[in-house]
């Protein structure tokens, strides 16, 4: 029913826009990663693999990448541990209050990311809220220094930020489980734990995968929380990229690291998508 002109009119403008502002920039990132910087700080447009060689030769890059992945992995696990039981509770045990509680999980998402990271900083600092509270009730005599400027602070803050992201897809898959299946399982004599492990959990795996991917990928690339709360031991891979694009002025090397990150993320997205498909078919 739609004429050719109509279809052209709705297709071409978004296609062009996305090509210019997404496809070309991502391609440019790839190109930059093969260029270099001359001693006089000019970008040299000749092709070389030096950036990638350096990436694998200089320890600090790989170490920081692995540390970032470890931080992201912890954030993912904690977000799931907090988000999954919460989603289960809301979906199966709350009745009429469900909608309200759901909104309560969403609302923190509307508070600026930066502001929440900052709030943690005011809580965890050596004269912050937590330390002064602990001293006020005489649990400690001196401020606990490990709270702020540590990987712990980064993991805590990112877990806080990504728990709702882990919650949402899990909750949505749980809500789609037909309730008569659960009743049937009960009628056939299964205990609640058996029903959970054999019915509910397998059906919720696509949601878990989606939530885990979100939490892992987004925290892997984070650079603001580490800068704000991480201290020297909480530096992540994106912080290195930021400094290469700033003071260190080596865009090509920064581009190479970013491109590795991009490739890693795309591989993860692909993996999680194919796993999700596999589990949805069951």
């Amino acid at each position: 029913m739609f004429s050719r002109a109509y279809r052209t009119a709705i297709t071409v403008p978004p296609l062009l826009w996305v090509a210019v502002f997404l496809l070309v920039p991502y391609a440019l990132l790839f190109c930059y990663s093969f260029w270099s910087v001359s001693p006089s700080q000019v970008i040299v447009h000749s092709w070389t693999l030096d950036n990638y060689r350096q990436l694998f030769k200089v320890n600090v890059y790989l170490q920081t990448l692995f540390r970032s992945m470890w931080i992201a992995a912890r954030v993912t696990i904690f977000s799931l541990l907090l988000g999954y039981p919460l989603a289960y509770y809301l979906s199966f045990c709350t009745g009429k209050r469900k909608e309200l509680l759901y909104q309560l999980v969403i609302i923190p998402l509307w508070v600026s990311y930066l502001v929440r990271a900052y709030a943690w900083k005011t809580i965890l600092g050596s004269d912050g809220v937590l330390n002064t509270l602990l001293q006020y009730v005489h649990l400690t005599q001196h401020p606990l220094e490990f709270l702020l400027y540590s990987p712990f602070a980064v993991v805590l803050t990112l877990t806080h930020i990504y728990t709702p992201f882990a919650f949402l897809p899990i909750y949505s898959t749980l809500e789609h489980i037909p309730r008569n299946l659960v009743e049937a399982s009960h009628d056939l004599g299964a205990s609640p734990w058996q029903t959970f492990w054999r019915l509910i959990f397998p059906l919720s795996i696509p949601g878990v995968l989606a939530g885990a991917t979100f939490a892992f990928v987004l925290s892997l690339g984070d650079f603001l929380s580490p800068l704000l709360l991480g201290g020297p031991s909480g530096i992540m891979i994106s912080n290195i990229v930021v400094s290469l694009f700033g003071a260190a002025y080596n865009w090509p090397l920064g581009a190479a690291i970013s491109f590795c990150m991009l490739a890693l993320v795309l591989a993860l997205l692909f993996l999680s998508e194919s796993l999700e498909k596999k589990w949805s078919l069951r």
Partner: protein, 268 residues
């Protein structure tokens, strides 16, 4: 559902209470200490005062950054809708080479760490010799958030009855008239929802803006700059104000949606 068929709910209830405590602790702390006379930190809070709000009111740099942020969000919203709505229509109604790639590409900025999109656009603007300014941030946000408009409107299109559009075309209306009088009104909830979401996401965006900023700051970047210098309850004050405004926005949107559909729906 009866208690017998599901897991022990008292244990789960305590877990839920703890998680909510964890989610709200920073927000409550933030608001409480915006009234704290002796600065951020220290327990218990003392000398309750509006001092920090008064300082905030007189802080021109903050308010001009708020204005910049509103301008950017409004413009980014326009860009995203202008390209996101046709993109959704195209995904729904047209076949073209590279459709699968296009669908993925549009969604990418939402799932990629912001730093990658930010840097890539920075390189584009540098190659094209475009000076960084609020305009580059608008282009960045507008592009990154097309996905929001596309997914929301695409979901709306799946529920749309095409017969109305068909009838309109049969009765002699042209495509443009049909689009404005039939398609858009039918999609208005999806479009308003997308617009609100894009607006708030843009207001809060920092990773992409971080690389595309020129001389004028947006609010998150202004806050970021101050945080690097040290912390002041003024930041708590502006954040609390924004929080209250966001709550009002959610409540309004929720009412709107409930009124229109008769029943609540998932927001994201």
């Amino acid at each position: 559902m009866s208690g017998r068929t599901t897991l022990n709910s008292s244990w789960l209830r305590w877990h839920a209470i703890l998680v909510f405590g964890f989610l709200y602790l920073p927000i409550i702390t933030l608001i409480v200490y915006s009234f704290n006379g002796s600065g951020v930190g220290g327990f218990p809070p003392r000398d309750l005062t509006l001092h920090w709000y008064r300082i905030l009111l007189a802080d021109d740099a903050i308010w001009s950054s708020v204005l910049n942020s509103l301008l950017v969000a409004l413009a980014a919203m326009t860009v995203s809708l202008a390209f996101g709505i046709p993109a959704a229509l195209a995904l729904d109604r047209a076949n073209f080479p590279g459709k699968a790639l296009f669908r993925r590409l549009v969604l990418l900025p939402l799932i990629l760490p912001g730093i990658i999109t930010g840097l890539s656009l920075l390189m584009l603007f540098r190659q094209a010799d475009v000076k960084l300014s609020l305009l580059t941030i608008i282009l960045g946000h507008g592009t990154a958030l097309i996905s929001v408009a596309t997914t929301e409107v695409f979901a709306g299109l799946q529920k749309l009855d095409r017969a109305q559009e068909e009838a309109s075309l049969d009765l002699g209306a042209n495509y443009l008239q049909t689009f404005w009088r039939i398609t858009v009104p039918n999609l208005r909830l999806s479009i308003i929802g997308a617009a609100l979401l894009i607006f708030t996401l843009s207001l809060d965006e920092i990773a992409v803006s971080f690389f595309l900023i020129g001389r004028d700051n947006t609010l998150p970047l202004e806050i970021w700059g101050r945080l690097r210098r040290g912390i002041t309850p003024e930041i708590n004050a502006i954040s609390s104000i924004i929080f209250v405004f966001s709550l009002a926005a959610i409540a309004t949107w929720y009412r709107l949606r409930q009124g229109a559909e008769g029943k609540p729906d998932l927001m994201l």
